[in-house]
């Protein structure tokens, strides 16, 4: 067996080491690229989830409830509620005037924002003969929130005392009838005969649609 000279052996030994380092660097670079691609895919997925949620939120807010008794065109089903002053009232007693019946939870952000927005429109609605009945969903959907009176004072301010704005708490049966899906807020526009003409939520983002639905009910002025 012929012996290699020392310099040739050293050169041969350095070549595999250099190749190993180059391969290692290339492998790590490929791994990092894959990681970046993974991060990009994750980012796209997060954005897609956000988009889906936004679309679901938008589409659900414009669909009518599934129950026949509360869908658009149906006569609003009767049910009882207790006003802030402690008096018992019923949905059926609201006939004779176009009425906005709005079910809220007092701890919900959009309900707070909607009440503030409605406070700015109550004068306009009242001038067109529309009354507003804002009802806390039964037991605030089982959670502890401020009372409807405190809620009204905090978010509607002085407008909460408007005689055309009634505050109260819905009964459990009324809640189940008008909010079968358990949404935190939902509103119904009833015409003078008690028929449901418009259903939507959240109020703060659909105010223009509501005002547009009010117009045909009131014509040039009061109903």
């Amino acid at each position: 067996m012929s012996r290699r000279s020392a310099p040739n052996r050293a050169t041969t030994a350095r070549r595999p080491a250099k190749n190993r380092r180059a391969n290692e660097a290339a492998r790590q670079a490929a791994a990092h690229r894959r990681r970046l691609i993974g991060m990009g895919v994750a980012g796209v997925l997060v954005a897609a989830i956000i988009a889906v949620v936004a679309v679901v939120a938008s589409s659900k807010s414009t669909s009518a409830p599934t129950t026949r008794s509360t869908g658009v065109g149906a006569i609003a089903r009767n049910g009882s509620f207790t006003t802030a002053s402690g008096a018992q009232a019923a949905i059926g007693s609201l006939r004779g005037h176009p009425t906005l019946v709005w079910f809220v939870t007092t701890w919900c952000s959009s309900c707070q924002a909607g009440t503030q927005a409605l406070a700015g429109e109550i004068g306009h609605l009242a001038s067109r003969g529309v009354r507003v009945v804002e009802l806390e969903l039964a037991d605030d959907l089982g959670q502890s929130g401020p009372s409807i009176t405190a809620f009204a004072r905090q978010y509607a301010g002085a407008a909460s005392a408007n005689p055309d704005w009634t505050w109260g708490v819905a009964s459990s049966r009324l809640t189940a009838t008008y909010d079968p899906a358990g949404e935190l807020e939902i509103y119904y526009l009833l015409d003078a005969s008690g028929r449901v003409t418009y259903v939507n939520s959240p109020l703060v983002s659909t105010m223009s649609g509501l005002l547009g639905a009010v117009a045909p009910l009131t014509g040039n002025g009061h109903a």
Binding site: H32, M39, V46, I50, S61, S109, S110, G142, A181, G182
Partner: protein, 233 residues
Amino acid sequence: MSGTHLVHGHPWAALVRQVAADRVDRAVFAAVFVAVGFGNSILLPFDFTQRISFANWGYLDPRYLAFTVAFALAMAWVLTLQVHAVREVLAARSSADAPRRAGPLGALAVVVSLLPSFLCCSPVVPTLVGLFGLSAAARLRTTGTITYFFATKQSLLLAGALALLVASGLWSTRKLARAACFAGVCSTPAKGDTVSAQVPRRCADPSPGPQGGGAVGASVADPAPTASGSPRS
């Protein structure tokens, strides 16, 4: 890429200076900060309007604003480090891996920060709960419980998401700073020396890691740095 890897003082400070001096890293940082800040400013108040629209800016309170800025800064730093690490590897200046956990942790922080806005007050939870076929009373109770949690614990969740992201950024910074050190780039110049005349020394961090002899040779022989040692953008 930076043409020199001088460390004056703490390796973390050197890494920050290296990133700040690199034009591409600065561009990545700025772009991510603007994008995340803009996105958060619109998405955080989603629970008020249930819309993704500029009208959400009307509900940005000091709490949301502070979180938006802090989160955008942290996310920009985390992603800039990721890009910086990949570029370091591609340039064969470091033989250490980029922080692997920073990406998933950052994504988790984003999801956690947006959960309260999207699950409170929107129809998502009622829709999902409705799939389980519960009774009406149970459905109302379950929906209320879940959404109430997100409505009332939003500040806590935002703080947790921010803490997660900051921890991820600190971890990434530490890992990269150590990786740069182990690549033999902890050189301290003597007065009047050029970069090429400096002798790299081992960092004080006792943790084991790759020697990075090839990277050291490359950095010493790099012709780009100026005599003052200022990094090349």
